[in-house]
Amino acid sequence: MGKKTVLSLTITGLFIGLVSLAVWFWRGWSAQPMYHADVIDALSTKENIDDFERALKPKAFGFPEDWGPHPNFQTEWWYYTGNLDDERGRHFGYQLTFFRRALKKGQPQRTSQWSTHQVYFAHFAVTDVEKRQFNSFERFSRGAVGLAGAEASPYRVWLDNWRVGKKGEGVILEAAEGPVSLKLHLKPLKPVVYQGDRGLSQKGSEPGNASYYYSQTRLHSEGVIVIDDTEFEVSGFSWLDREWSTSVLQKGDSGWDWFSIQLEDNREIMVFQIRSNDGSISEYSAGILVAADGSSHYLAKDDFHLSTLDTWESPKSKVSYPTEWLLELPGHSLRLNIKPYIPNQEHRHSFLYWEGAVAVKSDTVTGFGYVELTGYNNDDRSVGN
C-alpha cells in the first residue's frame, strides 16, 4: 500500500468516525426530554380563562378555608422562602413553593380517581452561601389519588414527599431531593397581612387582572438542612406568600421583580414592579410595609423607587439579570442596598427565572430577604399573544 492510499484511508476513516459521532450526538440530543417544557406550555395557555373565576373585588378572607385551594381560579401558589443560619453563623437560603394550575374549570365527572383538572408543580431550592452552592429542583404531578394536592383543614399542601403540614400553631415543611433535604418547623410571629386593597392585588388596568394575595411576613423557623450527608441545625425567618388568580399580567407586560425583605428591627417590606416590553414600569407595581407591631402600610408605585446597580449574566442560560439594587422608600426614610448572597440562584427548569436569598444593608439597619426576577430571557414567554 502506498503512502497516499494509507493517507486517504485514514482520512476516510476519520471522516466516517466524525459523521457517526455527530449523528450519535444529534440523536442523543434530540432525545432529551423536551417533555416538561411542554407541560409548562400547557400550563401557560391563556385559552378558556373566561370559564374561571376572576379576582374582581375585595373579598372577605376566612380561615381555615383560605389556606386551602381555590380550584375555580386557574393559578394558585403557596410560596415559602426564608433565610437561616446554623449555630456557627453559616448562612442558608431556601425556597419551597407549590403551584396549582387548573387545565379546565370544575371537577371532572368521571369514574377514575386518576382523572383531574388540577396539575401541581413545585420548586425546592437551597442556597449554601459558604460553599457558594445553589441546589434547585422541580417536580410535577397530577392533583389526584393523593399524589399532590392542598387541603384547608387540617392545612396541608404536598407533592410526592415534599409537603407542608399543620403542626400546632405552625407548620412543618419537608422536602428532599438528591443530596439535599430540609425539615423546618415554622411558627408565625405576626398576623396575616392582606396585600393591595384588602387582599385584592390589582396587576393591570382591566378588571380581573388581579389576584387575591395575602402573606405571613415573619415565620420563626427552626430545623435541619442536610447537604451531602452533612447536617446543619438551622434557625431564622421565613415568609409565606399565598396568591391565586386567573389572569394577572396584561398584554405588553414582560415580567416582574419581586422583593421580600425582613429587617432586623422587626419590620418587613414587600415590593413588586411589573416591567413592560417598552422598558417602562407598570402603574400597578406596589408593595407593603409591615411595622414591628404587625400593622401594615400599603405602598403605591410612587411610594418606592428601585434602581439597578449591577447586572449578572448567567453562564448557563446567557440571560442577563439585575443583581444589585437600591430600594428607596422616601416616606419611611429607608435607602436599602440589596445584594444576592451569591449571584447564581437561577432556576433552569420548565421556567427560566432567578430567585434567591439576598442580603440587605443600609446606614441604619440590616436584614435579608428573597428576590424573584422573571421574564429576563429574550425569546421569552412574555405575556400577550
Binding site: M34, S115, H117, A144, V145, L147, N161
Partner: protein, 848 residues
Amino acid sequence: MPYTSLLKISVNHSKGHPLRKLLLLLGIAIGVAVVVAVDLANESIGRSFQLSTRSITGRSTHQVIHSDNRLDQNFYTRLRTELGIRRSAPVITGYIRIDRLEGRTIRMLGIDPFADAGFRNYLGQASGTPNLETLTSLLTASNRVLISKKLAAEINIRTGDSLGINTAFGEQKVIVAGLMESDNSFTEQALSGIMLTDIATAQEILKMGDHISHVDLMLDVESTDLMNRIKETLPPGAQLVSSNARSNAVRQMSRSFELNLTALSLLALLVGMFLIYNTVTFSIVQRRIQLGTLRALGVTRSEVFVMILVETLFWGIIGSTIGILLGIVLGTGTVRLVSQTVSDLYFTLTVNQFHISIGKLIKAFLMGIGASLLSGALPALEAANIEPVQTLRRSSLERRLAVQMPVLGIVGSLFIIAGVVLLSVPTRSLRVSFGGLLLIVFGNALLVPLLIRVVMKFISAIVSLFKGVTCQMASRNIIRSMSRTSVSIASLMIAISVIVGVGTMIGSFRITVVQWLSNTIRADLYIGSANRLGRELDGDLQVELKKFEGVAKVIAIRSRQVKSGPYTGATLISLDEDTAERKWIWYEGNKAGLKEKFDQGWVFISEPMSWKYQIKGGPGTTIALDTDLGRKEFRLAGIFRDFTSDQGAVMIAGPHYKRYWGDRYVFGMSVFLEKGVDPERIGRDIERRFQDRYQLMIRSNRGLRNAAIEVFDRTFTITVALQILAGLVAFIGVLNTVMSLILERSREIGVLRANGMTVSQLGRMLMMESGLIGLLAGLFSIPLGTIMAWILVHIINKRSFGWTLDFVLQPDSYLQAILIALVSAVLAGIYPMISISRKQVAALLRTE
C-alpha cells in the same frame, strides 16, 4: 497455459450452455433461499418478542407487579409520598381490539404523563411530542387516546376522529387526540402496536376500579435498603421483581417455539447444501471431456483445479446473491404464518414486520459459496488428478465409485453410529440432539450408492420379467451412471425424508392430542367469555347456571399465570372437581385415592411442568407457590399428561385456590347436562338468558374439541411451508440430474437412434430412468423419514417441550413421499426428453 486463456474457456463454456448454468444458479439460489427464509422467520419472531416486551417495560430496572394484574393504586401513592421514590411510574395495560383492524388486538397502555417521561420516550421524541392541546385533552377529557401515525394511516384515521374499539367489557368509542411519531424505526414499530392514553382513561376503559397493572421503577441496584422498604410496603399479592426477570419470563415462552424453527432452519441448511452439492458436482462432471482435452493439451493439474474453483466461486457468488433475494421473498410469507402461530399460542404479537440481521444474510451467503466450493473441490480434485486419457472415458469414474462403495458404506455407518451415540447422551441441549439427527441423516446419504445397488438388483430382476428392452436399458442405465444418480437420489431422499419425518411427527402429535382432548373434555357445554381480552365471568353466574333447567353440574375453571417465585410462567388452574380421565406419568399412592387428595388441597402438575422444573415426583414431593398469603408449599399428588402449554400447569381444587388467591373471577365453566337434554338448545337458552349481563361464548363438547384441533393445525402451518420448500428442492434436484444425464449422453442416444430406436421408445426409456430415480429416492426416504420422526417425537419434542407423544406411523405421508418424488422426477424428465427427441440423429452424433 495462462489463466486468462483458461478464463476465456470457462466463459465460452457458460455461453455455450446457458441452460446448464441456469440450473446451476437455480440450485445454489434455492439452497441459499431456504436457509434465508427460515432464518428470517426465526429472527423476526425473536425480535418481535423483544420489541413487544420493551415497549411495555421501557427503561425500568424493576417493577412492582401483582399476581392478578390488579395492584392497589394507593400503593403507588405511598411509594411516592411516603417512601419518596420519585423514579416510579404507574402503568395500566390491557388488550383491546380495533374494529377497523379486522379485530386485530393491540395493547392499550395507560400512563401518567407526569411520571412517565423518564421511562418511555415516545412522548419525549422530538417529533413525537404531543402539543399542549393534545396533552390537555388527554388529561381532561375521557376516552382520548394517541395512536401511531403509521397505524392511523393504516386504518385511515385522523386526529379528532372517533374509533371503535372492543374490550373485555364490550364495544366502546375512543377519540384520537393525536398521533405519535418517531424518527427511530425501532420505536416506530413498537408504537404501532400501542394505543397510548392517560392512566385515568385506561382505568375507565379497562374497568380496573381503583387498581393499576403495575409500577415501573428505576432503582439503584445497590440500594438494598430501599428495596427492603418497598417490600415492606407491598400489598398482598404484589411482588417486586427486576424488569429483566420479567421480560425473561416472557421470552422464555417463545424460546421453545424458536428452537423448533431453528431445527427447521438446520434441516433447511442440510437440504440446501445437498442441493448445491448436487448441482455443482454435475456441472463439473459434465465437463470431464473438456477438462481431459485441456489436460491432454498440457494444462497442469493445479491450473485445472484453480480454473474450476474460480468458476465455481463465480457462480456461487451469483447464485447465493439471487438466493438471498429469493429467500427474503419466501421469508415474508413464512413470517406471516409464524406470527399467526405465535399469536395463537402465546400472546398477541404486535409487530408483524420482518427482520433479518446482516449477520444471518452473510451466514447464508457464505454457506452458499462454501457449499459450492466444497462441492466443486472434490470433483475438481478428481478431474485434476486423473490421467488425461482416463478423463475422456467416463467409465473410469464409475469404476472408482464401485471400488469406493464399501468405504462409503463403512463411513456412512460410522456417521450413523456417532449420531446414535450423540442422541443417547442424556442432555437437554437441543444442539446435541440436532447434531445427532444431522449425523444420522448424513450417514444415510453416504449409504445411498450401496442401497441403490441392492435395490436395483431387485428391480432389474423384476424388470427382466417384462419383455421391453427399453425398460431393462433404463434400469441398467441407473446403475451404470451411479456416480451421478447416487448424489441426485441422495439429495432427493433427504428432501423427501424431511416431508415424511415432519409429517409423521405432526400426525403422531395430532393423534395424541385428539385422544387427550377427548379424555380431558368431558362436559357437555363449555362457557367462556366471548372475548379473550379479559375475564368477566364470576361466581354469580355459576350459581345461576346451576339452577338452570336441564343442568346437572357446573364446574368453574379459574386460571392465572404464576408471576413470581420458582415457577414463574406456569399456569395455575383451579377446578371445582377434576372430571378428566387423565393419563398419569406418576401418582402418589393408589389411583382411586387421587380425587380425595385433590379435594384436600394436593396439587397435580402437567408433564411439561415436571420436565421443565425437573420435578420427578415421588412420595412427599411439594411445590412452592406464591399465594396472596405468601409462599406456600403444596403437596404433589400426581403428574399428568398435558398439551395445554409447554410452560407447565399446576392444578388445584377450587376451594383451596379461592383461599390462597381470593379470585372472584371465573375463566370458564364446564356444564354437565342431565341425560337426554339437547346441548345445542340449552346452550342457546343460556346465551339468551344472560345476554344482558355477560358476553358468553358457549361451545359444545364437539365444538370445543374442533376449536382446539383448529389451533393445533394452525400451529403447524409453518411446516406446510417447509414441505413446499422441500418439494421445490426435490424438483430442482431431479431436474438437474435428469437434464445432465440426458444431455451428457447425447452421443449414446444418437447411436441408439441411428440403430433404429424410435422417438417413443427413447422417450419411454428416459421416462423410466427419471421415474426410477424418483422411485428410489422416495423409497429410501421412507425409512430415513421414519427414523427422523422417531427422533423428533421421542427426543427433540420431549427435550424441548417435555411432553410424551404416542409415535404413530403415517402411511399417508409415505404415499405422499413416493408421489412427490415420482411426480417431480417425471415432470423433471419431460423437458430434456422433448428437447433431445427433436434433435437430428446426425447432430447428436457430431460430438466427436
